[in-house]
């Protein structure tokens, strides 16, 4: 196990470096000069040149990358030239919202996907199974912004049960906070559960044919124990992998959902930066999100090892 962790940790270093390089290159090589953006279109060439010199934009690119990387490693991601807020402040302020949204969405997706997958696997080939598999397949073709609109229309416009937009901090009003998150989280969960369900279902069907399941039945164990312990645990390995792969999609979905439901999270920060051409914030947020994504995948890898003793003991 320690060897496994160390090996994975070592792999993180080049990936994170490459991510920072790519983020930097996107910001530096693509058109859109920061000095022009700050000064506006009417700026004189002299003023632009002066500002470029002040910001170090006239330095060679590798030098700019290294000094930027050095700052980043010291926790200095830069400062918005529009609001004066540092990137780190802005991100930290909004991070809890995005994390809460993703966590609730993931829990929702698991809550829908796991029971359905088990029910389908137990009765594979039945009418119920075929109906649910078909529904899951159709749901895969419904992007987050479609289900968001549908949910808003149903629960906010027609039934008026839940607010369509808005945000209340958890510390002020926990119930109101959860009510705000219900529709956004459900939107994301609706996109996630079919993926989880399909994978877990086919894995469970294969697992249920294993000898050790016949053995568990021959031991006279309760059906619930056979399904939830003997079958679900070995089947959940791919579920974890898929959850990991899906984090990317989930982050993308978070941006869209935060924008639709007006939640002040990282996604809104990113979109706001794009619309106001706040390039420093944009660069910082992209780097932050990409690194967060890499780290989340790392955590998922670790989870894999926790679940499968064969990997933990280095037999894989």
């Amino acid at each position: 196990m320690p060897g496994f962790v160390a090996q994975r940790l070592l792999y993180l270093v080049p990936v994170l470096l490459a991510v920072s390089l790519l983020t930097f290159l996107i910001a530096s090589l693509l058109p859109g000069d920061l000095a022009y953006v700050i000064l506006g279109d009417q700026a004189t060439p002299d003023k632009v040149a002066a500002l470029r010199h002040d910001m170090g934009l006239d330095q060679p690119i590798w030098w700019r990358y290294l000094s930027w990387l050095g700052n980043v490693l010291q926790g200095d991601f830069g400062r918005s030239f529009r609001t004066g807020q540092t990137v780190l402040q802005a991100v930290m302020e909004r991070l809890p919202v995005s994390l809460e949204l993703m966590l609730l969405a993931q829990l929702g997706a698991l809550a829908i996907g796991i029971p359905l997958a088990i029910a389908c696997a137990v009765r594979s080939g039945s009418a119920f199974d075929r109906f649910m598999t078909g529904s899951a397949f159709s749901m895969l073709s419904v992007p987050a912004f479609l289900s968001a609109i549908l949910l808003i229309y149903l629960f906010a416009v027609e039934l008026r049960w839940l607010p369509a937009t808005g945000y209340v901090p958890f510390s002020e009003d926990p119930v109101g906070n959860l009510r705000c998150f219900l529709l956004p989280a459900l939107t994301l969960a609706l996109g996630e559960w079919p993926v989880l369900m399909r994978v877990l279902r086919s894995d469970m069907i294969a697992t249920l044919q294993e000898d050790y399941i016949a053995m568990a039945r021959a031991k006279g164990l309760k059906p619930s124990r056979i399904l939830l312990v003997h079958a679900l645990k070995p089947s959940s390995l791919t579920l974890v992998t898929v959850t990991g792969i899906n984090i990317g999609r989930l982050i993308g979905g978070t941006v869209i959902v935060e924008s639709i439901f007006a939640l002040p999270g990282i996604g809104r920060l990113l979109l706001g930066a794009i619309f106001t051409r706040d390039l420093i914030i944009l660069q910082g947020v992209v780097l932050f999100v990409a690194c967060g994504y890499v780290l989340m995948n790392f955590v998922v890898d670790m989870l894999y090892a926790v679940l499968d003793p064969r990997i933990r003991h280095g037999h894989a």
Binding site: V19, P31, F137, L140, L146, G253, V255, L271, A290
Partner: protein, 290 residues
């Protein structure tokens, strides 16, 4: 153990046979819908449609009528015309972007899978870096710098698809490269180019094509999301995503403005997914072995 005694769970054997037969109707319905959307999009200029950008402030959010079959949107523009012109955008981006992916990703994957070695490590490594970004975030960031336009959008979404196509091509090539017909060709002294183009490409192409169709579905969705956020093709050009985005504003008064493009988009994405998934199941070597 005995091949006969227990392990024949007849379901496993019977399922693929039954599935192809049952999916038949749905499969052809999906093909029909795709053909229909294509035809309408191609002949949009010839069809007797209103100008999709002509506003009429007196005719805002009109219900469907003889003059406007699907009514008008919040700026009095003909909804049907916008829907059909939106189909053009979705299809152009949806087809061209995966085309970039299948060409570059497919070539890289085949070369990596065939030559292996340091080249493979390099290709796989650089793709890993591209995959280290959540796709939508990368698309948003690059759009922000490059500026919104149809070619830019296509290019970005195309590049984002390269890693996935590379993986499929590499995996298929790896499994094929050790098969008899390739070894036989090598033994006969065929050049690398000949083996890659004549022996491997025909076999790699089908799985890649099935994946291409799934890629079309994903691209239409991502383009829709970007346009929905106002970061896709610039207005006044209509796209399904931007129509849904605009329709959201009038969800209480005229939900149809959001739901018509939403349903159209859902059906199109579902059709591509359905056809792609069926083809993938047919070309999957693991299934073929049964």
């Amino acid at each position: 153990m005995a091949t006969l005694e227990l392990d024949i769970d007849e379901q496993v054997v019977a399922a693929p046979i039954r599935k192809t037969r049952r999916l038949g109707l749905l499969f052809w319905a999906a093909i029909g819908w795709i053909v229909f959307v294509f035809a309408v999009a191609i002949f949009a200029g010839v069809l007797p449609l209103a100008d999709p950008t002509a506003m009429d402030m007196l005719e805002r959010r009109q219900p469907p009528s003889m003059q406007h079959w699907l009514g008008t949107d919040g700026l009095g523009r003909d909804e049907l015309a916008r829907l059909i012109h939106g189909a053009r955008i979705s299809l152009v981006v949806g087809l061209c972007a995966p085309m970039i992916g299948i060409t570059i990703g497919g070539a890289l994957g085949m070369l990596a899978g065939y030559f292996r070695g340091r080249f493979e490590t390099l290709v796989v490594g650089s793709m890993d870096v591209l995959l280290a970004f959540p796709p939508l975030i990368l698309a948003l960031a690059v759009t922000a710098y490059l500026g919104q336009s149809l070619p830019n959008l296509t290019l970005i979404l195309g590049v984002l698809g390269i890693p996935a196509f590379m993986r499929v091509a590499r995996a298929t090539t790896l499994s094929l490269a050790r098969r008899e017909f390739v070894i036989a060709a090598q033994a006969l002294g065929a050049t690398h180019a000949r083996i890659l183009l004549r022996e491997l490409l025909p076999n790699v192409f089908l799985p890649l094509f099935a994946f291409f169709l799934l890629g079309v579905a994903v691209t239409i969705v991502v383009e829709g999301a970007l346009s929905f956020l106002g970061l896709g093709v610039p207005p006044p050009i209509s796209s399904w995503g931007s129509m849904i985005g605009e329709g959201r504003e009038s969800l209480e008064i005229a939900p149809r403005l959001a739901f018509i493009p939403a349903v159209t988009m859902f059906l199109t994405v579902l059709s591509f997914n359905l056809v792609g998934d069926t083809l993938r199941a047919l070309t999957d070597p693991r299934q073929g072995a049964l």
